[in-house]
Amino acid sequence: MIFPKRVSIGAVLLTIILASTLFAAMNFFVHKALAQDEQSEWVWTQKNPKPSWWRWDEKYYPAKPVRGGIYRTAASRYIGLMNPNHWPVNDWVSMGNFYEKLILTDGNYRSTVPFLASYWEYKDPVTVIMKLRKGVKFTDGSAFNAEAIKFQIDWIRDKRNGAWSRAWLAPVKSIEVVDEYTVRWKFKKPWAGFLGIMSNVPGYVLSHQGLKNDVILRDLKKAQGQAKRLKRKLAKGGEKAKKKYEKAKADVDRLTPMAEGIVSLDAWGVGSGPWIIEEAKPGNRMKYKRNPNWWFGRSIGHPDMPYMDGVLVTVIPEPSVRLANLKAGKIEALHIDKSQYPLVKDDPNLNVWITPGNHVTSMVFNHAEGPCKDIRVRKAISHAIDRKAIIKGTQFGFGIEASCMYPAIHWTHNPNLKPVKYDPELSKKLLAEAGYAKGLTIRGVMGNDQSSVKLGQAIKSMLAQVGIEWKIRTVDPVSGSDANKNRDYDMAGGGWAWIYDPDLMATGLYHPDGGFNYGRSNNEKAIALIEAGRTETDLVKRQKIYWELEKILYENYEDAWLFWYVGIDANRKVVLGYNREMGMAGQEGYFATHPGWFKDGHN
């Protein structure tokens, strides 16, 4: 007999307590395991270590997150085209709410933060193995896996789908499914910009089912058009035409029931992100509800993420009215105009954040013809511009003097370069040397928006001080594009916004293949470096190439870089969860992974 004949009450109690504790512990671990159901580990490597901002404890934010509330914000426009691969995309702010990227960028705009792609490795310069995150589902229930990614990439590359992002994937030879969560990329030639592109438009992952539905809609539309055309030709066409018509008609009959009830991704975006579209009224507003199964929150042990119940984005085109909404408490956050800074800086209800961005404003020269072919003229112009005064006068003091094309916070910027000094006397001397002692007249083009007009006037008056008459044509963006294409200028307003992979900007402006070059700049050393930068997959070596490229452009006064952008954001103090230091260090990576919350769970 192994059981004792008499059992004391104490022993029974002790057993119950022990069993309950064991049960609670088991429950906790099972719950924890379920919460992280089959998700891949976050892979940080020696080359790509875990960033300092990758944390959600009290060092991230002292207050505990609270669930609830609707976050209200404003957009200047929302046209209602929700597939980022379909032109023209103007709803980037909305896209980020329901689509997620394979790789995110960090505070220096490097594509280093694993997201839907958990790990990647260059096997050789033309092959990349990419592991995908497990346990992710699109909000329409379809699974995120290697098949889904292959389908999307092939969909973009298929001409019939009209994806403007197809050009970005030109170096891709093929994408293969290795296993359920692994794909193998093959490139036509070594491609260093791959990671940058995966953090950009083609890297937004769209619902597998949604894309399949779009293919049905596409084929149905085509078949309907064919059937309509062929029907008209039936009488004259004979047997051949009849057969063709019957085939088209059969396609229509086959596809019509399949297309029933389908809404295109263009009108209703579906991804795997923290928010799900609840209402979409183009030109008016967009409502999102919380995705209760958001994979990311569960993967880091915070299943309450996102903390708010929903998001409401209202379209308010006029900046002063957007600010009125913020001040009236009708919206929680806003990217504000620089001129409005005095109106918000002392508002006790608002937090105001001043942050450098990755845009550059410059003057571009026509090196192909006219006086700006001469480096002395370009140099004279560059030294005649007082960048500090421009920032003060046209940017309300918010801007950073630019020394070259990549902003100081971008990983490719050469920190040894200093902004060109304002020196009108040197300019006059250089102009005299170039044979323009009695003055010089150059042609120019500037945009017709208020900011460009102001900037143009400021530079025009600075150039006049050294004897240069800059004849500016103020044009709308469409005409400006034509002037750019025809090189109908000596010096024109220019710049670049959203600089992610450095090759896009470098090629765009300084390589003969570039969409903004049109033969205006043809610097052989720069071209060689741009081509080297496209193929160098080692991040450190690639960084050195772009440092060198900036040096070459700087020394040749290729363009006159004026200032790097600084943005101002304001949010109502009821919104918590923003750690400034970590936000700066992580930028896109941080914002996608650290959703805010309301102080008391409501607005």
Binding site: R77, P88, K159, W164, R166, D266, P282, V315, P477, V478
Partner: protein, 318 residues
């Protein structure tokens, strides 16, 4: 009367045809390629075939006269093309937005009548009084004040300072009637005051003219009460020319709606048209112009017919 109506219809159709042709040609005569420009705002495109593909998709690769006739045929079939900006059918976009703009028009017209007509009548009846001077000044102020300035002052006063009205936005009446009325109160007022000033001036001078007529003097001489003189004998003839200004101001409201819809973030036809002009979105610009022209022409037609009905002399003019 029948002949008069037929004549007016023919004139209206000719004007509409002219508006359609001029708009179509002018939009295309502007320098620049909208497809290339808009695509380049997004990315450096090395592949020119993509640009050509998009251009072909919208039929912009065909000769202008072919584009025109294709568009015209489709337009009258009810297919107004596809927006270059959103890829959405223009007809669907209009259907969504026309009721919004119509609500603003109706609201603005009510404000214009409520403010303009009593002010004009009161000024006429109390000619040269201090109130007449005040109302005249207010009317002139109403006519000359810029729409955007009036809008922003009202928004900051009622929404930010007093916090009694929402600053901007739109909710359909059937979705939330109270919120809808709150949201359209300021924009319709702003549009209404623009017309009310002119209307008040017109009503005042029209009344003054009628009040000086012999039959008014006769009516007073036979001992009629002043109320009866004004409302029974003066009001109807005085309102005949006012019909014209009411009709014309309805046509003019569309101009105001472009700015008002922008300021108050109202998703109506005006804002869509304005956005399309900046984006060089041909199909929307063309459709907007036709709708705007139709709106003005229909209102003018109604005014002409009403005027002809009220004043037989007009019908006799060949």
């Amino acid at each position: 009367m029948k002949q008069y109506i037929i004549r007016r219809i023919i004139y209206s159709l000719l004007i509409l045809a002219g508006a359609i042709v001029i708009t179509f040609i002018m939009v295309r005569l502007l320098p620049g390629d909208p497809i290339r420009a808009a695509m380049q705002q997004n990315v450096d495109l090395n592949d020119a075939s993509i640009v050509e593909e998009v251009r072909a998709r919208y039929g912009l690769d065909r000769p202008v006269h072919v584009q025109f006739f294709m568009w015209l045929i489709d337009f009258f079939k009810g297919d107004w093309g596809t927006s270059l900006s959103s890829g959405e059918k223009v007809t669907a976009m209009f259907w969504r937005r026309v009721p919004v703009t119509l609500e603003l028009f109706v609201g603005a017209t009510i404000w214009a009548w409520v403010l303009g007509i009593p002010l004009g009548i009161y000024s006429a009846l109390n000619r040269n009084s201090w109130l007449d001077a005040l109302f005249t000044s207010v009317s002139v102020f109403g006519i000359s004040i810029p729409v955007f300035w009036e809008a922003i002052i009202l928004i900051y006063f009622f929404a930010v300072f007093l916090q009694v009205l929402p600053p901007s936005g739109y909710v359909a009446f059937f979705e939330n009637p109270i919120e809808n009325l709150k949201l359209v109160l300021m924009p319709t007022f702003v549009m209404g005051t623009q017309s009310a000033g002119g209307l008040a001036r017109y009503v005042r001078s029209s009344f003054l003219e009628v009040l000086g007529k012999d039959y008014i003097r006769t009516a007073r001489a036979k001992g009629l009460r002043e109320k009866a003189v004004i409302f029974r004998h003066a009001a109807k003839p005085a309102m005949i020319p006012v019909v014209t200004i009411i009709g014309l101001s309805w046509g003019g409201l569309i101009g105001g709606s472009f700015i008002v819809e922008l300021m108050f973030a109202i998703p109506g036809v005006g804002r869509m048209g304005l956005d399309a002009v900046f984006a060089r979105d041909f199909p929307i610009v063309q459709a907007t112009m036709v709708v705007v022209s139709l709106n003005v022409l229909i209102m003018n037609f109604i005014v002409d017919i009403t005027y002809g009905y009220l004043d037989p002399r007009v019908r006799l003019i060949k």
